[in-house]
Structures are given as structure tokens and as C-alpha cells.
């Protein structure tokens, strides 16, 4: 089973993503800060990281760069409430840059594509809701 690391300082978001991704059939670990995320990738095997940008202390961009320095094959999806960094080259090493949305279908699609090489089957639901 593939393991997804969720790094976000908001408990509600971690909770939501954890439930949703478990439902999608992934093992989920969470980190409440950038440093915790780095530590988590050192402690256990992680197949993909979903990284928030604005967190207290170190931000997600720097955490991503540090993680990539140690493991440059690890896929990282930036998932932020900010749109500002999306246009910045600083986020370019990421495999994807998503803007947080209550509709998780784009996030799920991205995770499926990166980890399983195919989109998930939830596209229908997304269309029916939006």
C-alpha cells in the first residue's frame, strides 16, 4: 500500500485529507509543520508528499527543497491556499501545484496519477457537485 504524507498546520485540513485519502486506499501519515514533514520522510518510507506552503516556522517550499536534497525522486504536490507562489519558479521542483479546494477531486486525481499512473474514478462525482 502506498503511503502519502500530508503536511499542513491546520488540523481540520489534515483530518479531511486523511479521511479522503484513506478512502482512496492509501496509507496516510500527517505532519503539522515543515520540520515534522522532513522528519517523517527520514523516519519512514513515504511515496508522496502533499505539502502546504504557509506554515509556522519553515515554509513548505523550503521543506520541499530539503526533502528533495535527500531524496530527489520523491513526488511532492504543493497544495496551498495561496495562489501567489504558483507563478513563482521557486515552486517548480514540485510535481504539481494545487490550490486548496473543498472539491478534492483534483487532488485525488493528481495523487492517483503520480502513484498509480492513472486517474481515480471520482471525476463523475466532481462534475455532479460543482
Amino acid at each position: 500500500m502506498k503511503t502519502v504524507l500530508i503536511a499542513d498546520d491546520e488540523l481540520a485540513i489534515r483530518k479531511l485529507y486523511e479521511c479522503e485519502l484513506r478512502d482512496e486506499g492509501y496509507e496516510v501519515v500527517t505532519a503539522a509543520s515543515a520540520q515534522e514533514a522532513i522528519d517523517a520522510t527520514r523516519k519512514q518510507i513515504v511515496d508522496l508528499v502533499i505539502m502546504d506552503i504557509r506554515m509556522p516556522g519553515m515554509d513548505g517550499i523550503e521543506a520541499m527543497n530539503r526533502i528533495l536534497e535527500e531524496n530527489n525522486e520523491l513526488p511532492i504536490v504543493i497544495n496551498s491556499a495561496y495562489s501567489a507562489y504558483r507563478d513563482s519558479f521557486m515552486s517548480w521542483p514540485a510535481d504539481a501545484y494545487l490550490i486548496k479546494s473543498a472539491d478534492l477531486s483534483e487532488l485525488k486525481d493528481t495523487v492517483h496519477r503520480i502513484l498509480d499512473g492513472k486517474p481515480s474514478g471520482i471525476g463523475v462525482e466532481r462534475e455532479s457537485v460543482v
Binding site: I13, A81, D87, S88, F89, L98, I99, D103, E106
Partner: protein
């Protein structure tokens, strides 16, 4: 020999004459000479004069071999000024001899003078002194006029012309030609020359000036400045070709320049390169060389000659030139300082208006960035809870155990959250940055163009500029003006930090997703306290700095989606390069155009998942 005739007090008169150094003649009441002392005898010829009128003695005096024999001009009465009368006698060779004639009657009690005593006093020395004094007074007066005129002038061009006019005009020192050589570094460079270039030219110029009869040096200058063409184009042409290093001059020429003592130099004596150059250009051997020193620094050299009239240059005119040169040098320096001052004022005014423009831009940029910052915060603070609410509502919706009524309510929550999210997307996410990357340019070319714009100024100040542009093209989506603004500020900072004798190295590099422009200087780096503040607006370590350069640069580069990284000194280096100077390094990192992205990690942005290039 004393007179043979008996005189009332011959012995006394002879003693008076000897003591006072005056010639004494005694005559009868009709003026016929009856006795004369030794000095008078030596002047008038004792044997000849005796028994003749005194007047004839004077004529005799004039006609003697040591005087030019001429009728009235020889014995000309100079003045009636009491006491007595002053005669001027011209000797052979034009030498003048002044003699004062005083007559006293010798009474014999009856009231009617029976005899006359004539005193002849040689006043040539006094007269000479007086003439010299008058001469000096005239020189002082004209020197004062020249100097006053010089000091009234402020532009250096005007001062230079006035100096040359003073040297060449009859009102000044009357040389035929004059050249001003200004000191430029180690060299002397001819800047101006006036005076006729041939006899015909001289005739034309001098008769014109005589006709105009201009009343002052300033009037001559104004006449000259009013003309459209340079006053003496050929002489000016000669001046512009003079350029030599004083160390290439003969010992005598160099000696004059170094000693600050004007002197005549014969350019044909010693075969030194500078002497030969001057001789060939001026077409003259003998020139007056007047060094102009101000406070221990050679400001220039004045060269004057009598190229047309070939008149010898007198010691007197040299010594006058010496006095003049001191004032001329000061006037020259003063005018140069004034010119510099004027330039500085203009620069300050320009800097001031640039500063104001920058302040306005900064203010605008700050406002924009404040709006952007606010938008981002609002977006962040609202979006996170919305994601949680909406996401959890959606997950509830998928719960099959939910009743129809509850499902409808949850669907409303999902719907409302979507509406809010849509609002956020459509408004706050589209607050535009100040700058827009509009064209894809190879930043190597831009870095090169900017650096070359600084090259001339840098070389002038002795700062070496090294360029090392990599082989890889570095296409980046940028706004050229914005990139140039940033580069110019970084480069200016580097050149100021490097200072005279320092060096600045500009290099470019292709690094994965980014293009890097490194600007390294050999300056002292920045203190640790200052280091964290260098990008702050209005923070500066330089007395004349605005503190805006680096702030503007950073803002510009951020606007292009890049960043500026500062490394302070060698210990700070993340990617040290042996050829970098040891001062500060500013690295501008810009996102490369997609076509040029090479990732050593094999990573690329996933094109379909929201990564959008600027």
C-alpha cells in the same frame, strides 16, 4: 680745474660742489662763464666754456663726442618745475642724461646781482628711479586689470581664453602666440592656442584689432567669443595636436616645468621627443615656458613665443609672466572648481529627481504589494476553513446512511462553499503583480548590455570589469526594462563597493530551472549588522546613497518571479568560484523559459496539474 678768475668764495664753492656732487659755474650778470669747478669742467670743457654764455656751454655739452650732436632735441628742456630747470641730454646709443640747472644771484650789497652761481645737478638716477616707478605702477595697474578680469570670469573656457588674450595682447604681455597645455594624468595636452599663424595673418588680425581699438581685455575676449569660428583656427589646430609626457622632455624643459619658474627654452638644443614634437608643431626654437602650479599640483603649462615678429623675449616680460602665472593658475583652478561644482549641482539635481521618481514608484509598488499581501492573507484565512467545511460536507454527502432531508441540507452547504470558493478564485487570486513577464530574452545578452553600459565609467575610475557569460542560452520570460532596472542597480552597487583599483565580475549560469546572473565585487563586503537590511528601502551604508537601489532591484526581480540572493564574503559562498573577487556577490535567479529547463534530477513540472509558468 678751478677757474682762473677770482671769485668771491672759490674755495667754498669748490668744496660745496665736491661734497654735493654738483657741477658749479659762476658767471657774470649777463651769463658769461667766469669760473667753473672740476665736475662742471668735465661736463662742459673748462677751456671752451670760459668766457662764453652758460647756454653755449650747454650746447657744447650736447655736441661733445659722447652726446649725439643734434640741435634742439639734444638739449631739451624737460621741465620748468622748480627749483630751476631740468634738461634732458641724449647720449649716443640713446642713453639719456638728466641735469637740473639752478641759478642763484650773488649780491654785493647794492641789490643788483653782479654775479650768478649756476648749480648743475645730475638727476639721471632719480629720473630713472622715477621712470621705473611709473613703469612698475603701469605694470601693476595692467596686471590688476588682467587679474580682475580673470577673477570676474567663472567658466573655465572663458578663463583660459582670457589668459591667452592677456599673454598675446598689447594690453597684456604682447607675445605673438600663446598655447595652453592642461595636465591630464601624466600628460600635458594642448587645449587652446591663439595668435596668428603667419605674417599675413598677423597683419590682418593686428590691424583689425587696432581698428577696433578695444578698450579692455574683456572686450577683446568678447569680440573673440562672439565670432562663430575659433579665433585662430590654425593655431588652435596646432594646440590640439600637442600631447606629451613631461618625462619625455629635455632636462631644461622639464626643469622649467618642475621648478615653477618661467624661462626661455631653446627647443633645438636637446633632442628629446617632447622638445622635438613642440618644435615641429610650433615651428619655433625659442619659447617662453610658464608652468602653472596650484598648491603643489601642475595644472598646466603656458607656452608663448614671438613666432611672427621674431622679437627677442626679455627678462622683464618673463618676470611679469611669472607674476601673472601665479594668478592665472589660481584663476584656472578656481574656474575648474566652479565647473565641477556646477556639474555636481546638476548631478545632484538629477539624483534628486531620480530619487523622487523612485520614491513614487516604490510607494506605488508598496501599495500594490500591500494589496497583494492582503488578498493573499484573506484568501488563505478564508480558504482553509472553507476547504475543511466543504470537504467534510462532501464526504458526508457520500455517506449512504444519510437521510434525504439531511443530504439536501449538506448539498446546500457544499453548494454555498463552492460559491465562496468561486468568489475567491475570481477575485483575490487575480490580483496582478506589478510587473509582467512579457518577452522571452536571453538574459546573457541583457547582463552583457547592462554591464557594458558601465564599462566606460568603470575604466575611468580604474575598476576592472570582467565578463564570463556561459555557453548555454538562458531564455527567460522577462520585462526588459524591469530586468535592466534591477541589473543596473546591482551593478552600480558593485562598482561603488569595488572602488578605484577594484574589480567586478559578471557571470551567468544555467542551473536546472533557473538562470543565474552573478555580480561579484572586490569590495569590503557588508557588516553583519547591515547584512540583513540591505534590501530594505532607504537602508544605505554610503553617505551619498539613497538606499533604494537594492530594494528596487529586489522588487523588480520578485516581480519577474525570481529572487536575489546575497552572499557576503568568501565564507558565505554556497558555490564558490575561484575567479570571483572576494567582496559581496549578488546572484539574480530567474525562472528559465520552459524550452531551456533541464533538471539534473530529471524533474519537470507536471504540465497538466496547475503549474503555470509566469
Amino acid at each position: 680745474m678751478p677757474g682762473s678768475r677770482e671769485t668771491p668764495e672759490p674755495a667754498l664753492l669748490a668744496r660745496i660742489g665736491a661734497d654735493l656732487g654738483v657741477g658749479i659755474i659762476v658767471s657774470d650778470a649777463a651769463g658769461v662763464v667766469t669760473w667753473m669747478d672740476e665736475l662742471a669742467s668735465s661736463w662742459f670743457g673748462g677751456e671752451f666754456a670760459r668766457g662764453r654764455p652758460v647756454r653755449a656751454g650747454l650746447e657744447r655739452l650736447a655736441s661733445r663726442s659722447r652726446f649725439v650732436s643734434l640741435p634742439p632735441a639734444i638739449v631739451s628742456e624737460v621741465s620748468e618745475s622748480p627749483p630751476g630747470r631740468l634738461f634732458c641730454l641724449r647720449r649716443e646709443g640713446g642713453d639719456e642724461f638728466y641735469v637740473r640747472h639752478l641759478v642763484f644771484p650773488l649780491g654785493r650789497g647794492s641789490g643788483e646781482a653782479s654775479e650768478l652761481v649756476h648749480y648743475f645737478i645730475d638727476e639721471t638716477r632719480e629720473k630713472r628711479l622715477q621712470e621705473t616707478l611709473v613703469d612698475h605702477l603701469q605694470q601693476l595697474t595692467s596686471m590688476k586689470e588682467i587679474i580682475d578680469t580673470l577673477y570676474d570670469s567663472v567658466s573655465s573656457q572663458e578663463v583660459i581664453y582670457l589668459i591667452l588674450v592677456a599673454v598675446t595682447s598689447q594690453m597684456g604681455f604682447g607675445f605673438n602666440r600663446a598655447f595652453l597645455l592642461e595636465a591630464c594624468g601624466d600628460q600635458l595636452r594642448g587645449t587652446f592656442g591663439i595668435g596668428p599663424s603667419s605674417t599675413e595673418d598677423a597683419h590682418r588680425i593686428w590691424s583689425r584689432l587696432a581698428e577696433l581699438n578695444l578698450p579692455s581685455l574683456r572686450a577683446i575676449y568678447e569680440d573673440m567669443a562672439g565670432a562663430k569660428a575659433p579665433p585662430d583656427p590654425q593655431t588652435q589646430e596646432i594646440a590640439s595636436r600637442i600631447l606629451f609626457d613631461p618625462s619625455d622632455a629635455s632636462a631644461s624643459l622639464r626643469g622649467v616645468i618642475d621648478s615653477n619658474r618661467p624661462a626661455l627654452v631653446d627647443l633645438s638644443v636637446e633632442q628629446a621627443p617632447a622638445d622635438r614634437l613642440l618644435r615641429d608643431l610650433l615651428g619655433a626654437d625659442l619659447v617662453a615656458v610658464v608652468p602653472l602650479w596650484v598648491r603643489g599640483t601642475l595644472a598646466g603649462v603656458l607656452i608663448a613665443d614671438n613666432f611672427v615678429t621674431r622679437q627677442p623675449i626679455s627678462e622683464k616680460s618673463l618676470s611679469l609672466l611669472k607674476t601673472f602665472s601665479n594668478y592665472a593658475a589660481i584663476a584656472l583652478e578656481r574656474s575648474q572648481l566652479y565647473d565641477e561644482l556646477r556639474q555636481s549641482v546638476a548631478k545632484l539635481q538629477e539624483a534628486n529627481s531620480t530619487l523622487k521618481a523612485h520614491q513614487r514608484k516604490l510607494l506605488r509598488a508598496e501599495k500594490l504589494s500591500a494589496i497583494g499581501e492582503l488578498a493573499a492573507r484573506v484568501s488563505h484565512e478564508i480558504r482553509n476553513p472553507l476547504v475543511a467545511i466543504g470537504g467534510l460536507a462532501r464526504s458526508l454527502l457520500r455517506d449512504n446512511g444519510l437521510g434525504t432531508e439531511a443530504r439536501d441540507k449538506v448539498a446546500i452547504i457544499v453548494d454555498q462553499v463552492s460559491r465562496l470558493e468561486k468568489f475567491l478564485r475570481e477575485t483575490l487570486d487575480f490580483v496582478k503583480p506589478e510587473f509582467e513577464a512579457t518577452t522571452v530574452l536571453d538574459v546573457r545578452d541583457e547582463a552583457n548590455a547592462c554591464a557594458q553600459a558601465f564599462r566606460a565609467g568603470a575604466e575611468e575610475r580604474g575598476i576592472a570589469l570582467e565578463m564570463e557569460l556561459g555557453d548555454d542560452p538562458l531564455p527567460c520570460p522577462v520585462d526588459r526594462d524591469v530586468l535592466h532596472r534591477a541589473l543596473a542597480n546591482i551593478l552600480r552597487n558593485a562598482f561603488e563597493a569595488a572602488g578605484p583599483g577594484g574589480r567586478v565580475r559578471v557571470s551567468t549560469e544555467h542551473r536546472g530551472f533557473t538562470a543565474e546572473i552573478r555580480v561579484a565585487d572586490s569590495g569590503p563586503g557588508i557588516s553583519p549588522e547591515a547584512e540583513t537590511r540591505i534590501f530594505e528601502p532607504f537602508f544605505t551604508t554610503k553617505p551619498e546613497g539613497t538606499g533604494l537601489g537594492l530594494a528596487i532591484a529586489q522588487q523588480a526581480i520578485r516581480g519577474l518571479g525570481g529572487q536575489i540572493v546575497f552572499e557576503n564574503g568568501p565564507s558565505d559562498r554556497t558555490a564558490p568560484q575561484a575567479s570571483d573577487p572576494l567582496g559581496s556577490i549578488f546572484t539574480i535567479k530567474l525562472p528559465l523559459d520552459e524550452s531551456a529547463i533541464r533538471s539534473p534530477r530529471g524533474r519537470r513540472p507536471v504540465p497538466t496539474t496547475g503549474i503555470r509558468r509566469p
